[in-house]
Assembly symmetry: C2
Homo-oligomer: 213 residues x 2
């Protein structure tokens, strides 16, 4: 059984990482990882699908047991990616996708260096500003703060393996699929060795007369 | 202008690397590199399309001038990939594909370490044997020699960046396209730096009031 690949998708708010991640994991090839959180379920959210909803105590215990690939606290609520279900899926040959912000992505890369990090970029700062303004939820001053935050996030690009520019959404989704599928054909020394063994064994079996039907 | 990518496609005889390379370069995204050779043109071959046909003297001069990315002699004829047209295309942002055997691929990787090496595998040794036998041009003994050569070539897989298994040809062609296109979104430190600069400059221009229309 070939080990699955772990993909991490990040990007500044408004770049479109959520919709790309959802599209990527809507087919059969990639599983979306479900996070654990201490915040209360909202209307329409389902345990084990949207999140694993847990108490602060359970969350803290998981931290102590080194049970997270990454975790963070946002506005007093804790969020984390449980390690066990991800490693289990990878071991069963499934590809897993995490959508997390940059600090989380760096934690994942440290805990699981084979992870492939994909950064979703807006086509330009101008378009990002327009998208955020289009949401109509923030003042111009808040918008400027957002833009500075986005820029500081984009500066972390060098720690990523791939980037994609979300100009046309369908194209960006196709691009994410190509990156992820192409990456599964990438060779490591170990993978090359295991493939070569397979061909050698087959040919040796043939030569020694143990010919398959 | 973003530098183009150089792709090298190799694989044992019968794996299908030629048809995959031709399919990959039939669209607008990838240019096929034209080799230089000292052998005489065959019926239907066109100068500058099939090959650059040159004399032994011209070939030797190009070798002396370090004008090849790779070159080899096969049955008394010399074949080589001229460096200048490939580097020119890459500099103009074009992606270039070379179809060459393994020794040549290693020479290219040494001369141009950014090259991306793709290995085309047959689905199995059994299928490879059937394909070669189907050509009907060789005795069983010659076939066995071929198979041993194929296996010794497959053993070089560890020096490649990607592999693809040519089971279903259309799928293998699609896979090659995904690998090549995905690879163009791969980040290096230099590429990340240049992308970040673009976003920084745009945002700085905006802040300083030099707002684009």
């Amino acid at each position: 059984m070939q080990q699955g690949k772990l993909f991490v998708v990040s990007g500044p708010s408004g770049a479109g990482k959520s919709v790309i991640t959802r599209a990527l994991t809507s087919g059969d090839d990639f599983d979306l990882s479900v996070s654990m959180t201490t915040r209360k379920p909202r209307e329409g959210e389902t345990e084990g699908v949207s999140y694993y909803f847990v108490s602060h105590e359970d969350f803290e215990r998981t931290v102590q047991e080194d049970g997270f690939l990454e975790h963070a606290s946002i506005y007093g609520n804790c969020y984390g990616t449980p390690k066990a279900p991800v490693l289990e899926k990878l071991g069963a040959g499934r590809n897993v996708v995490l959508e997390i912000e940059m600090q989380g992505a760096m934690q994942v890369k440290k805990a699981y260096p084979e992870a492939v990090l994909i950064f979703v970029l807006p086509p330009s700062m101008k378009v990002l500003r327009e998208r955020l303004r289009g949401r109509g939820t923030e003042s111009e001053e808040q918008l400027n703060t957002r833009m500075q935050k986005a820029l500081s996030e984009i500066r972390l690009l060098k720690d990523y393996d791939y980037y994609l520019v979300n100009d046309d959404l369908d194209e960006a989704i196709a691009e994410a699929g190509r990156i992820a599928k192409g990456e599964r054909r990438r060779l490591t020394k170990a993978k090359a060795k295991s493939i070569v063994s397979k061909y050698e064994e087959e040919e040796n079996a043939f030569i020694s007369g143990d010919r398959p039907a």
